[in-house]
Amino acid sequence: MFDFLDKPLYAEYGGILGAFWVTIELTFFSAIGSLIWGTILAAMRVSPVPVMRAFGAAYVNVVRNIPLTVIIVASSMVLADQLLWTLGGSDSREISFRVAVLGFVAYTSCFVCETLRSGINTVPIGQAEAARALGLTFFQVLRIVVLPQAFRSVIAPLASVLIALTKNTTVTASIAGIEAAGLMAAMIERESDKVMLVFAMFAVGFVILTLPMGMFLGWVAKKVSVKR
C-alpha cells in the first residue's frame, strides 16, 4: 500500500519522515528567532520611551495584518532573488529554508510580543505599587513580583503561538518544496488513486505534532496559573 513512497521524486524530500523533519526544523529555528525578536518587541511596547512604544506598536499592527503568504513570497522573491541574500546558505534549498525562517520570525514575533505584553498586563498594578512601597528596586519588582506572575499566565497562549507556527510552516510550500506540505502537493497530484491515504498521512502527521503539544502545555498552564 505504501510502495509509492519509494519513488525517486519523493526521496528528494527524504521521504515522508524527512519532509516532516524539515517541518520540525523550520518550526524550531523560527520559534527561537520569534521568541528573541518578540521579546525585544514586547520590551519596546512596555518601555517608558514613547518612540520605542510607537515603533513596537506600528510593527505589530502592520506585520500581523499582512498575510504570512505575502511575507514568505516576498522573502524569497525580493530578499533572495533580488537582493541576493543567501544568509549563509549554499544551495537554493538551503537559501529557501533560511529566508523562510526569516519570514516566519518577522511574522510570528508579532504574536509572541502581543502574548508577552498581555501577560504583563494581567498583573494588577497594585502588585507593583505594593512592591515599590516595600522599597524594592525596579529590577527586584520585575524579578520577584511582576515577571513570575506574567510568565505563568503566558504559557498557554505561547503554546498556541508555537502550534500555530508549526502549522504555518506549510506556507513554505509557496516558495519551495522542502517540507511536509510541499511533499504533499507533489504527491497528491501523482497518486490520484490514493488521495485519501495521502491526505490522511499528512493530516495525521500534523495532528501528532501539534495535539500532544497543545494538551500538555494547556495542562501545564492550568497547573501554574495564578488564581485571582
Binding site: 512596555v46 502549522k167 493530516a203
Partner: protein, 308 residues
C-alpha cells in the same frame, strides 16, 4: 499611553526623563541606520528606480488586476464565514451535548481540523474536486472555500463553546427553573447571547480567513489579490516584483485594519451596552487558537468570564 506600562514603571522623575531622551536619540539613530542600510541595498539593485513603481499609479493595473482579485478574495472570505458559522455553531453545541455519542465525534472532528494546516486541507479539497470532475474555472474557489470552512468551522465551534460556557450560570438555571427543555434552553436563551458575545471574535476570524485566502492565491492558483504577483510584473505595465508585492501587502493591510477596528469597536460596544450580561468572547489571540487548548482556559476566554 503610559497607563499600560505603569505596572512596570513609576511616573518618570527628572533623571528618568533625561535618560529617556538619551534612549530616544539612540533608538531613532539605530532605526534610521537600519532603514538606510536596507534602502541602500535596494537602490544598489535598482529596486527604487521610478519606472519600477510608477506603473502602480496607472488605472489599468487596478481595474485589470487588483480589483478583480480583491473581489475574489472577498467572495471567498465571505462564503467561507457564511458556511463555517452554522457548521461551527452545530459543532460547538455538539461538544456541549449530554449525549456522549454526539459529544465525542464533535470533539474529534473539531480537534482534528484545528490541528491540520489549512494548506493541507486546500490541497486535499482541490484534488478531490478535480477527481470528481468539478469545472476547472470554479475549482480553485471551491478548494479554497472548502479548506477555509473545514478549518474555521472548528475554530468557531470552540468560540461558540467558550461563549456558551462563559455565560453566567444563572442564565441556564433560570431557564431550566421555568421548565424549558434543554434544547429550548440552548436555542432561546444561551445561543442568542453566546452569538452576540461572539460577534467581535467572528469579525476577527474574518481577518484570519482573508489572510489565508492568499495561500490559495499562490498554491491553488485561485485568482485572488495575492495571485496577481505572477501576471502583473510580466504584463505591459511592468511594475517590479517588489512594487507588486508591496501593493498587495498594503491592500491586505487596509482591508484587515478596517476589520480589526470594526471588531474592537464591536467589542467595546457590546461591553458597554446595558442589555444582556455584557459577556464578550474577546477578539484577541484568536489567530493562535490551537488544538487541545481550551479557549476558556486562556486569557482570551477568561477575559470574557470576568465581565460575566
Amino acid at each position: 499611553m503610559t497607563q499600560q506600562a505603569s505596572v512596570l514603571y513609576d511616573a518618570p522623575g527628572p533623571r528618568a526623563r533625561q535618560r529617556n531622551v538619551v534612549y530616544t536619540v539612540l533608538f531613532v539613530a539605530a532605526v534610521v541606520a537600519a532603514a538606510w542600510w536596507l534602502l541602500d541595498q535596494l537602490a544598489e539593485r535598482n529596486q527604487l528606480d521610478a519606472q519600477n513603481w510608477t506603473p502602480l499609479l496607472e488605472a489599468g493595473v487596478w481595474t485589470d488586476f487588483f480589483l478583480p482579485g480583491l473581489l475574489n478574495t472577498l467572495q471567498a472570505a465571505f462564503l467561507s464565514i457564511l458556511i463555517a458559522l452554522p457548521v461551527g455553531v452545530l459543532l460547538g453545541i455538539g461538544r456541549l451535548s449530554q449525549h456522549a455519542w454526539i459529544r465525542w465525534p464533535a470533539a474529534v472532528w473539531v480537534e482534528f481540523f484545528r490541528a491540520t494546516p489549512v494548506l493541507i486541507l486546500m490541497l486535499f479539497a482541490r484534488e478531490l474536486y478535480r477527481l470528481t470532475g468539478v469545472d476547472t474555472d470554479i475549482l480553485p474557489l471551491y478548494a479554497v472555500v472548502t479548506g477555509l470552512v473545514l478549518y474555521n468551522a472548528s475554530v468557531l465551534a470552540e468560540v461558540v463553546r467558550a461563549g456558551i460556557v462563559s455565560l453566567p450560570r444563572g442564565q441556564s438555571e433560570a431557564a431550566e427553573a421555568l421548565g424549558l427543555r434543554r434544547s429550548q434552553v440552548m436555542t432561546s436563551v444561551l445561543l442568542p447571547q453566546a452569538i452576540t458575545a461572539m460577534l467581535p471574535a467572528i469579525v476577527s476570524q474574518l481577518v484570519v480567513i482573508v489572510k489565508d485566502t492568499a495561500l490559495g492565491g499562490v498554491v491553488i492558483r485561485f485568482e485572488d489579490v495575492m495571485a496577481q504577483f505572477r501576471p502583473l510584473p510580466t504584463s505591459d505595465y511592468r511594475p517590479s516584483v517588489l512594487a507588486t508585492l508591496t501593493a498587495i501587502a498594503v491592500i491586505f493591510l487596509v482591508l484587515n485594519s478596517i476589520l480589526t477596528t470594526f471588531a474592537n469597536w464591536l467589542e467595546k460596544w457590546l461591553r458597554q451596552r446595558k442589555k444582556g450580561t455584557g459577556t464578550v468572547v474577546t477578539a484577541d489571540l484568536m489567530e493562535e487558537q490551537a488544538p487541545g487548548v481550551r479557549l476558556e482556559d486562556t486569557e482570551a476566554g477568561a477575559a470574557g468570564k470576568d465581565k460575566g
